[in-house]
Amino acid sequence: MSVRDVMAVKLREALAPTELEVIDESDRHIGHGGWREGGETHFSVKVVSPAFIGKSRVERHRMVNAILAEELAGRVHALAVNAKAPGE
Protein backbone atom coordinates (compact mmCIF):
# COMPACT_ATOMS: atom_id res chain seq x y z
CA MET A 1 0.00 0.00 0.00
CA SER A 2 1.29 3.47 -0.82
CA VAL A 3 1.98 5.99 1.93
CA ARG A 4 -0.97 7.96 0.61
CA ASP A 5 -3.31 4.97 0.99
CA VAL A 6 -2.04 4.19 4.48
CA MET A 7 -2.66 7.78 5.53
CA ALA A 8 -6.16 7.72 4.06
CA VAL A 9 -7.02 4.48 5.88
CA LYS A 10 -5.76 5.83 9.22
CA LEU A 11 -7.68 9.10 8.86
CA ARG A 12 -10.84 7.25 7.82
CA GLU A 13 -10.66 4.91 10.80
CA ALA A 14 -9.89 7.65 13.34
CA LEU A 15 -12.15 10.48 12.14
CA ALA A 16 -15.00 8.85 10.21
CA PRO A 17 -14.82 11.77 7.76
CA THR A 18 -17.71 12.85 5.56
CA GLU A 19 -15.12 14.06 3.05
CA LEU A 20 -11.50 13.05 2.72
CA GLU A 21 -8.82 13.85 0.18
CA VAL A 22 -5.18 12.89 0.57
CA ILE A 23 -3.14 14.40 -2.23
CA ASP A 24 0.49 13.58 -2.98
CA GLU A 25 1.97 16.95 -3.91
CA SER A 26 5.55 15.72 -3.97
CA ASP A 27 5.93 16.49 -7.67
CA ARG A 28 5.46 20.17 -6.90
CA HIS A 29 8.43 20.05 -4.54
CA ILE A 30 11.03 18.25 -6.66
CA GLY A 31 14.47 19.38 -5.56
CA HIS A 32 13.14 21.15 -2.46
CA GLY A 33 14.15 20.22 1.08
CA GLY A 34 12.91 16.81 2.15
CA TRP A 35 12.03 15.65 -1.34
CA ARG A 36 13.16 12.15 -2.26
CA GLU A 37 13.26 10.06 -5.41
CA GLY A 38 9.90 8.31 -5.71
CA GLY A 39 7.94 11.11 -4.07
CA GLU A 40 5.48 10.46 -1.23
CA THR A 41 7.20 13.17 0.82
CA HIS A 42 4.83 16.14 0.53
CA PHE A 43 1.11 15.69 1.14
CA SER A 44 -2.00 17.76 1.41
CA VAL A 45 -4.97 16.51 3.45
CA LYS A 46 -8.48 17.88 3.16
CA VAL A 47 -10.79 16.37 5.73
CA VAL A 48 -14.31 17.14 6.90
CA SER A 49 -15.33 15.31 10.07
CA PRO A 50 -17.82 15.69 12.90
CA ALA A 51 -14.86 14.94 15.21
CA PHE A 52 -13.75 18.55 14.64
CA ILE A 53 -16.92 20.16 15.99
CA GLY A 54 -16.02 22.58 18.78
CA LYS A 55 -12.25 22.17 18.24
CA SER A 56 -9.86 25.01 17.49
CA ARG A 57 -7.65 25.00 14.41
CA VAL A 58 -4.62 24.02 16.46
CA GLU A 59 -6.53 21.17 18.14
CA ARG A 60 -7.72 19.86 14.76
CA HIS A 61 -4.23 19.89 13.31
CA ARG A 62 -2.87 18.17 16.41
CA MET A 63 -5.48 15.42 15.98
CA VAL A 64 -4.41 14.86 12.37
CA ASN A 65 -0.72 15.03 13.28
CA ALA A 66 -1.23 12.44 16.03
CA ILE A 67 -3.06 10.05 13.70
CA LEU A 68 -0.25 10.37 11.16
CA ALA A 69 2.61 10.56 13.68
CA GLU A 70 4.33 7.48 12.28
CA GLU A 71 4.30 8.86 8.74
CA LEU A 72 5.47 12.32 9.87
CA ALA A 73 8.36 10.75 11.76
CA GLY A 74 9.31 8.79 8.66
CA ARG A 75 9.13 9.53 4.99
CA VAL A 76 6.60 12.37 5.07
CA HIS A 77 8.39 15.71 5.19
CA ALA A 78 5.50 18.14 4.77
CA LEU A 79 1.79 17.93 5.45
CA ALA A 80 -0.66 20.66 4.58
CA VAL A 81 -3.90 20.26 6.54
CA ASN A 82 -7.35 21.64 5.85
CA ALA A 83 -9.62 20.36 8.64
CA LYS A 84 -13.28 21.38 8.79
CA ALA A 85 -16.36 20.30 10.63
CA PRO A 86 -19.43 19.57 8.48
CA GLY A 87 -21.15 22.77 7.34
CA GLU A 88 -18.12 25.03 7.77
Binding site: V58, H61, R62, N65, A73, A78, L79, A80, N82
Partner: protein, 112 residues
Protein backbone atom coordinates in the same frame (compact mmCIF):
# COMPACT_ATOMS: atom_id res chain seq x y z
CA UNK B 1 19.33 27.23 30.63
CA UNK B 2 17.62 24.22 29.04
CA UNK B 3 16.51 24.43 25.43
CA UNK B 4 12.86 24.58 26.54
CA UNK B 5 13.68 27.56 28.79
CA UNK B 6 15.56 29.24 25.95
CA UNK B 7 12.52 28.87 23.68
CA UNK B 8 10.16 30.07 26.36
CA UNK B 9 12.35 33.10 26.94
CA UNK B 10 12.40 33.80 23.18
CA UNK B 11 8.61 33.67 22.74
CA UNK B 12 7.80 35.66 25.86
CA UNK B 13 10.39 38.41 25.47
CA UNK B 14 9.35 39.13 21.86
CA UNK B 15 5.76 39.98 20.88
CA UNK B 16 5.80 38.05 17.61
CA UNK B 17 8.26 35.24 16.90
CA UNK B 18 8.45 33.03 13.82
CA UNK B 19 10.47 29.83 14.02
CA UNK B 20 11.35 29.13 10.42
CA UNK B 21 13.79 27.54 7.99
CA UNK B 22 16.08 30.30 6.76
CA UNK B 23 15.67 33.98 7.56
CA UNK B 24 12.92 36.50 6.77
CA UNK B 25 15.23 37.85 4.05
CA UNK B 26 16.08 34.37 2.70
CA UNK B 27 13.47 31.73 3.57
CA UNK B 28 14.79 28.24 2.81
CA UNK B 29 11.40 26.55 2.60
CA UNK B 30 8.19 27.44 0.79
CA UNK B 31 6.02 27.10 3.89
CA UNK B 32 8.24 29.39 5.96
CA UNK B 33 8.32 31.79 3.01
CA UNK B 34 4.53 31.99 2.90
CA UNK B 35 4.32 33.03 6.55
CA UNK B 36 7.06 35.64 6.04
CA UNK B 37 5.09 37.10 3.12
CA UNK B 38 1.93 37.33 5.23
CA UNK B 39 3.69 38.96 8.20
CA UNK B 40 5.47 41.40 5.90
CA UNK B 41 2.21 42.19 4.13
CA UNK B 42 0.36 43.06 7.30
CA UNK B 43 3.41 45.03 8.40
CA UNK B 44 3.84 43.47 11.82
CA UNK B 45 7.29 43.58 13.42
CA UNK B 46 8.54 40.09 14.29
CA UNK B 47 11.61 38.13 15.15
CA UNK B 48 12.61 35.29 12.85
CA UNK B 49 14.49 32.36 14.39
CA UNK B 50 16.31 30.19 11.86
CA UNK B 51 16.00 26.60 13.10
CA UNK B 52 18.49 25.40 10.49
CA UNK B 53 21.23 27.15 12.45
CA UNK B 54 20.55 25.25 15.66
CA UNK B 55 19.65 21.57 15.75
CA UNK B 56 18.65 21.79 19.44
CA UNK B 57 16.09 24.51 18.68
CA UNK B 58 14.91 22.68 15.56
CA UNK B 59 13.95 19.65 17.65
CA UNK B 60 13.16 21.62 20.82
CA UNK B 61 10.51 23.78 19.18
CA UNK B 62 8.63 20.69 18.00
CA UNK B 63 8.48 19.43 21.57
CA UNK B 64 7.69 22.87 22.99
CA UNK B 65 4.47 23.27 21.04
CA UNK B 66 3.76 19.57 20.57
CA UNK B 67 3.76 20.41 16.88
CA UNK B 68 5.80 18.32 14.43
CA UNK B 69 6.48 20.86 11.73
CA UNK B 70 8.09 24.22 10.98
CA UNK B 71 7.23 27.12 10.57
CA UNK B 72 5.63 27.95 13.93
CA UNK B 73 4.24 31.39 14.80
CA UNK B 74 3.99 32.73 18.37
CA UNK B 75 2.22 35.86 19.57
CA UNK B 76 2.88 37.02 23.12
CA UNK B 77 4.14 33.57 24.03
CA UNK B 78 1.10 31.78 22.62
CA UNK B 79 1.48 29.24 19.82
CA UNK B 80 -0.74 30.37 16.94
CA UNK B 81 -0.08 27.67 14.36
CA UNK B 82 1.86 26.65 11.29
CA UNK B 83 1.61 27.77 7.69
CA UNK B 84 -1.94 26.53 6.98
CA UNK B 85 -3.42 28.06 10.13
CA UNK B 86 -1.63 31.39 9.68
CA UNK B 87 -2.83 31.58 6.08
CA UNK B 88 -6.43 30.76 7.03
CA UNK B 89 -6.38 33.32 9.83
CA UNK B 90 -4.87 35.94 7.53
CA UNK B 91 -7.49 35.33 4.85
CA UNK B 92 -10.34 35.63 7.33
CA UNK B 93 -8.81 38.70 8.99
CA UNK B 94 -8.50 36.88 12.33
CA UNK B 95 -4.72 37.16 12.37
CA UNK B 96 -4.86 40.93 12.04
CA UNK B 97 -7.54 41.26 14.73
CA UNK B 98 -5.72 38.84 17.05
CA UNK B 99 -2.56 40.95 16.78
CA UNK B 100 -4.48 44.19 17.29
CA UNK B 101 -6.26 42.70 20.32
CA UNK B 102 -2.82 41.98 21.78
CA UNK B 103 -1.75 45.57 21.27
CA UNK B 104 0.54 44.80 18.35
CA UNK B 105 0.27 47.36 15.55
CA UNK B 106 -0.61 46.17 12.05
CA UNK B 107 -0.83 48.23 8.88
CA UNK B 108 -4.23 49.87 8.45
CA UNK B 109 -6.24 48.28 5.70
CA UNK B 110 -4.01 45.22 5.41
CA UNK B 111 -6.93 42.90 4.75
CA UNK B 112 -6.82 39.59 2.96
Amino acid sequence: MSIQDTIKNEVTSNDVVLFMKGTPQFPMCGFSGQVVQILDYIGVPYKGVNVLEDEAIRQGIKDYANWPTIPQLYVKGEFIGGCDIVREMFQSGELQSHLAANGIPVKQGAGA
